[in-house]
């Protein structure tokens, strides 16, 4: 089955028509990261066109240091992180101007410690994660005001132990993943109320075995990853029914064409394919490389780069 998934990803880039391509070009850099990471986890990375991708990333770095989703698009923290993740998979960080990337990120930190996603100033805890994840991969965490950054993320903690996008916002599994990942990378996991948050996260599991991102939402492979990875980070992964979740993820595969969908029976895409495979890896599937729950990258890649995010036991 893994070979079918690899075939699906390998073919994905080539078969797209103009319209489909245009619709999703605004996140192309992340799309490449999803595809390459899942290929690497399955041991199929060499099938992808390394040189073409590195040239593409070079062409996406802007004067300001930030990297955009595609050529001609504007730079943003989201795609800066994806690009750096891809370059780590390929051991070729030197192909971009790393110092400029660092300067770009430093420039986006606000007085209250939060991070804007780009020069237009939108604030979100997702961007705090992007900033520290990129800097951790570059080994430059000391360039920002980490204490302030931590202070802001903690101000987004809610009564249920979860986190939202800004202070006062509703807890959301995707934001929780970003915030626990952020606290892991900054060595502040002791600030999480792991029992309370673990409780909320476990309540995301539904009778189908799948996990949702908030109360009364449908289960979804990508939310299953965010919840599962958060549980792993705070040392509470044994609190859910792992066998049931595994069955749910496997039911989201396309048996014939390869790839994973958000839910059983839906159309597959690379995004859910990565999070399906990464989820299976966290659940202990030994045909897949071990995945790091914080950065969603193969553990061996992080070891090579000397990055070892904290995990609560």
């Amino acid at each position: 089955m893994l070979d079918k998934h690899a075939d699906y990803i390998a073919a994905y880039g080539s078969k797209k028509d103009d319209y489909e391509y245009t619709l999703s070009e605004y996140l192309r850099m992340s799309g490449i990261y999803w595809g390459l990471t899942v290929m690497d986890l399955m041991g199929h990375l060499p099938r992808m066109n390394r040189n073409e991708i590195i040239d593409f990333i070079k062409a996406c770095q802007h004067e300001c240091g930030g990297i955009s989703a595609s050529i001609g698009h504007d730079p943003h923290l989201l795609y800066t992180l994806s690009a750096v993740q891809i370059l780590c998979l390929y051991d070729s960080l030197e192909s971009i101007d790393v110092d400029k990337v660092v300067a770009y990120i430093v420039g986006l930190q606000q007085e209250d410690g939060s991070f804007a996603g780009d020069k237009w100033g939108e604030i979100d805890t997702r961007f705090s994660f992007c900033a520290v994840a990129t800097l951790a991969l570059l080994g430059k965490m000391d360039k920002i005001d980490v204490d302030k950054a931590v202070e802001f993320v903690l101000s987004c903690m809610n009564f249920d132990g979860g986190f939202g996008c800004r202070p006062g916002s509703e807890s959301h599994a995707g934001q929780i993943y970003c915030c626990t990942g952020f606290l892991s990378l900054t060595g502040q996991l002791h600030q999480v109320n792991a029992d309370l948050l673990g409780w909320w996260l476990c309540e995301r599991q539904l009778s189908s075995g799948g996990l949702n991102g908030r109360p009364e939402k449908l289960p979804d492979v990508c939310y299953s990853w965010w919840v599962l990875a958060s549980l792993k980070i705070i040392g509470r992964i044994d609190w859910i029914d792992k066998a049931k979740l595994r069955r749910f993820i496997l039911a989201c595969q396309d048996d014939e064409m390869g790839g994973f969908a958000d839910r059983p029976g839906d159309v597959v895409d690379p995004f859910h394919t990565l999070f399906g495979i990464a989820g299976l890896s966290l659940l202990g599937d030994d045909q897949i490389k071990p995945v790091n729950p914080v950065l969603c990258m193969p553990e061996d890649v992080l070891q090579r780069n000397g990055v070892q995010p904290d995990i609560l036991s």
Binding site: D18, T22, H73, W120, C165, R166, E170, H172, N193, K217
Partner: protein, 462 residues
């Protein structure tokens, strides 16, 4: 369908123009959509305007989007020239078809900054895009940026004309209108997609940015949302907003300073300005008495807070009983009870020591086992009390609430509002009632989880 590059070129330019003209012909277009239509019908524009709805025939979207998309990217790389008017038209078409194309919004931000586009126009465009893509994160982000631009321009004008009373009144009118408009856009998007995180967090942003601590606005929100949440009992985001407003309303800062109506100018000024305070005195609907002391205001406002909590718990109980088995409602109950529990502790603390430092206590850190430390023992009831309260859910005041309630007793009675007390034991009797009467397995599961939550997080079963 058009074949050659040249034909596509001509056709697309015509369609972009048709869209622009449709907006000129009818400035009240309030919804956009794609009309399923696989083939072009000769000599007819694929842009259809029916009443206030603008439709694009599906056959043309497939080549219209890539064409305008690539034109804009070429312009961005300085490989193709577009004048300002063409940029406005192209980005408009583009964003109605693909509103998450960040760079297209950024082009409009630049046009706005140099005065080519009017901010109101972008509020309108993003509102339209949200009718078709109610979640689109980039659309909400652009909207916030535009609102901030408007706000800072108005603030500059306000600073320049500080003595001019009429001018400042206009400013506040504008703010009230903006608030109203944003609430409408959010409600619309919330209705189109359940638990719409981006819509609701935008609403929260607007309240935090524009209604800083204004209790009148908060209360209007609570009452206008009441019916909506009752009809959307699975929408966790809607209930989260009620929780947040409850939380914001209970801070002393919110209650003592800003109780003026939303059209009052003070909404825009920092809550610490003196004008703010006098305004609260003259227009205040919630706090009365021109020469009332701070202490008196605080007491009055805590009566309001008390009422707010009771109304919220009552609403929650009603909904849980009418719509069994909804996780959202049980989650709401946890949050409201949690807030109440902490407000009560803070308030007792405040009354006894007059310590205003607890202004910052509204977002205090969560304690997993409810270790109360040196605070008054709120839940130290005897078993006898519990039995009694289980027997009769009568509007009596339990011993533990006397400290809080005695301050306001007279006012509460004057208003004729009988309040049930909210306590751990009243929660347990509510649960007993559910378990006795309800056979819905989900409802029972949520009730048990709530009980466990009360025991572990709030602590000390009475």
């Amino acid at each position: 369908m058009a074949e050659s590059e040249e034909e596509v070129n001509v056709l697309v330019q015509r369609v972009v123009k048709d869209i622009t003209n449709a907006f000129k012909r009818n400035p009240n277009i309030d919804e956009i959509g794609v009309i399923q239509c696989p083939e072009a019908r000769c000599n007819r524009s694929p842009i259809v305007l029916v009443e206030n709805k603008l439709g694009v025939e599906s056959w043309c979207v497939k080549f219209l989007l890539p064409y305008v998309h690539n034109k804009l990217l070429l312009y961005r790389q300085r490989k193709y020239w577009l004048d300002r008017e063409a940029l406005g038209d192209i980005t408009c078409t583009l964003l109605l078809l693909n509103p998450d194309f960040t760079t297209a919004w950024n082009v409009r931000k630049e046009l706005l900054q140099c005065g080519v586009l009017h901010p109101e126009k972008d509020l309108y465009l993003s509102k339209l895009a949200l009718t078709r893509f109610p979640k689109s994160p980039e659309t909400w982000i652009h909207r916030r940026w535009v609102l901030q631009q408007i706000q800072s321009r108005k603030q500059e004008q306000g600073d320049a004309a500080q003595v001019d009373g009429e001018r400042s009144h206009q400013l506040s009118d504008h703010l009230a209108r903006t608030l109203h408009q944003e609430m409408k856009v959010c409600s619309n998007a919330a209705g189109r997609y359940p638990s719409n995180y981006n819509a609701w967090s935008h609403r929260i942003w607007v309240l935090q940015q524009m209604a800083k601590g204004n209790v009148k606005v908060f209360h209007d929100e609570l009452s206008s949302m009441r019916l909506w949440v009752s009809m959307h009992v699975s929408d966790h985001s809607g209930f989260h907003l009620r929780e947040l407003i409850t939380e914001l309303s209970k801070t002393p800062a919110a209650n003592t300073i800003t109780t003026c109506p939303s059209q009052c100018q003070s909404v825009a000024t920092p809550s610490t300005s003196p004008h703010h305070h006098s305004c609260a005195r003259s227009n205040g609907q919630l706090s009365r008495g021109d020469n009332g002391t701070d202490e008196e205001e605080r007491q009055l406002s805590s009566t309001t807070v008390l009422q707010l909590f009771h109304q919220e718990m009552e609403l929650c109980s009603d909904l849980i009983q009418s719509y069994p088995g909804h996780e959202t409602l049980w989650s709401h109950r946890r949050h409201v009870f949690y807030l109440w529990h902490h407000w009560k502790r803070e308030h007792q603390h405040l009354s006894s020591s007059d310590n205003s430092s607890s202004v910052n206590g509204n977002r205090q850190k969560v304690e997993s086992h409810g270790g109360d430390g040196g605070l008054p023992k709120v839940n130290g009831e005897s078993c006898a009390d519990q039995v009694e309260s289980q027997k009769e859910r009568s509007p009596t005041v339990e011993p533990m609430d006397v400290d809080v309630l005695s301050l306001h007793d007279s006012k509460r009675l004057k208003r004729g509002v009988p309040l049930l007390s909210i306590t751990l034991s009243s929660e347990h009797s509510f649960l007993d009632e559910i378990m006795d009467r309800c056979s819905n397995p989900e409802q029972r599961r949520f009730a048990l989880a709530y009980e466990k939550w009360l025991d572990t997080v709030i602590g000390q079963r009475p």
